[in-house]
Symmetry: C2
Subunit: 253 residues, 2 copies
């Protein structure tokens, strides 16, 4: 049965290659440039073979979105390893979330696309379930920290709001803000100078509003961020520094 194994492996590898080819197409040139002919060409297989893997173009988008979510969850998991009180660990998730958005803006484009009804509706419910599963995994990770906070007595949820709904709020804020930062070039003209700083401030004040202890005034969360970065995201911090340097150079030039 070693041959069946090889076949299967080759099939999986080709599926990955299709996604590797498709992602930069979507990211660099937009949804319209995602072209089945071009994918087949770059893959060096015929179009029919590509359609053997994905029944339609939209299914590729969905597959990319699932990968994206998995990548984000794994980033969140690294943040969640931070040892500390519940709100510190939530701050660690926030660090992971911001890093993910800033280092991999390409993932965001895909997440926005997959929400478009005319794209979503063309995909198979099998893969839709996979995305839902990935989404659940990510949300469960975050809401477990909320539950821990409630359990430790650091947080009291107001009546009529459950832990998942609180996470929904954090998710909405980051999704909305990072989407706009990635796509709305009018923001600086509107007076939004540093969007990422603003998001961090909003999240912190929102959790303060819910009285999640220790409050911002009771603990230096900037220090927590520093420690999270050093302990769990050293590589990403270096990448960010490199990006900042590159940006400086182009500004100077």
């Amino acid at each position: 049965m070693v041959n069946i194994g090889r076949k299967e492996r080759e099939y999986q590898e080709r599926e990955q290659r299709i996604l590797e080819i498709a992602r930069p197409m979507v990211v660099r040139e937009g949804y319209h440039a995602l072209n089945m002919n071009r994918i087949a060409e770059e893959l060096e297989y015929s179009k029919g073979t590509v359609y053997n893997h994905f029944p339609c173009k939209e299914e590729i988008i969905l597959a990319l979105a699932i990968q994206t979510l998995e990548a984000r969850t794994s980033m969140f998991q690294r943040g969640a390893k931070f040892v500390g009180r519940s709100r510190e660990r939530m701050q660690a998730i926030g660090v992971a979330c911001e890093l993910f958005a800033r280092l991999h803006p390409e993932h965001f484009v895909v997440e926005q696309l997959v929400r478009i009804p005319s794209i979503w509706d063309k995909t198979s419910s099998r893969r839709q379930q996979l995305l839902y599963r990935a989404e659940t995994d990510c949300l469960t990770l975050v809401s477990s920290i909320v539950h821990a906070g409630v359990g430790a007595g650091d947080l009291v949820l107001p009546e009529g709001l459950n832990a998942e709904e609180l996470v929904f709020g954090l998710w909405s804020m980051t999704f909305g803000a990072y989407s706009m930062l990635a796509t709305n070039s009018n923001l600086p003209a509107l007076g939004v100078v540093n969007g990422y700083d603003a998001v961090r401030s909003h999240l912190r004040h929102m959790l303060d509003g819910y009285h999640w202890r220790p409050l911002d005034a009771e603990l230096d969360y900037d220090l927590v961020v520093q420690r999270v970065l050093e302990l769990h995201f050293a590589d990403e911090m270096a990448q960010m520094a490199q990006m900042a340097m590159a940006a400086n150079h182009t500004t100077v030039d």
Copy 2:
């Protein structure tokens, strides 16, 4: 010159009709169903004439988005008429925002679409400027309330955060949350039972976090919402009630 006037008027009316035809197409059947041939057919003019008005399909989406933003701004303006302290007036904007999202979910689809780079990039910078202008008008209205709050001493903005960035936070939260509520049917399964209530709670707690007086504990904002609805959105309240009744009926049936 009365004839030139008539011509011009007919041209404008036809442009409106194109948008009236296009909106339900996008809303009911999605972006893919927005079809220039069908528009021409329903308009009872040839395709070339439609292209006289809009150089490409995407330009129609952008025009719809501008209309949407104008409709939202006018709703916000009605809310802003509420007489009270700054945070009460911000609450009135919140009421307008939620009503707009719930009563006109079709507008949301368009706002999401126009952010897609592959759509945005195909539009004329002339119309892009129009959208930016409409966006500025809306944001300015809201940020003027923040400024009023600061001026009255009810709100002290933390260092490094300006009024526009605070509004950006409210905007991100509502945009992100209402987008997801409109497109992610997995939310109830994730535990998000009542998304709209959650958003209201988040906004309130966020503003509490910023210590915008009077705090939630110092004033009954549910009562403010009631008064805003009665004073400025009586029609919309009736519509909501009707929608709720219709939903009940289908549930019962």
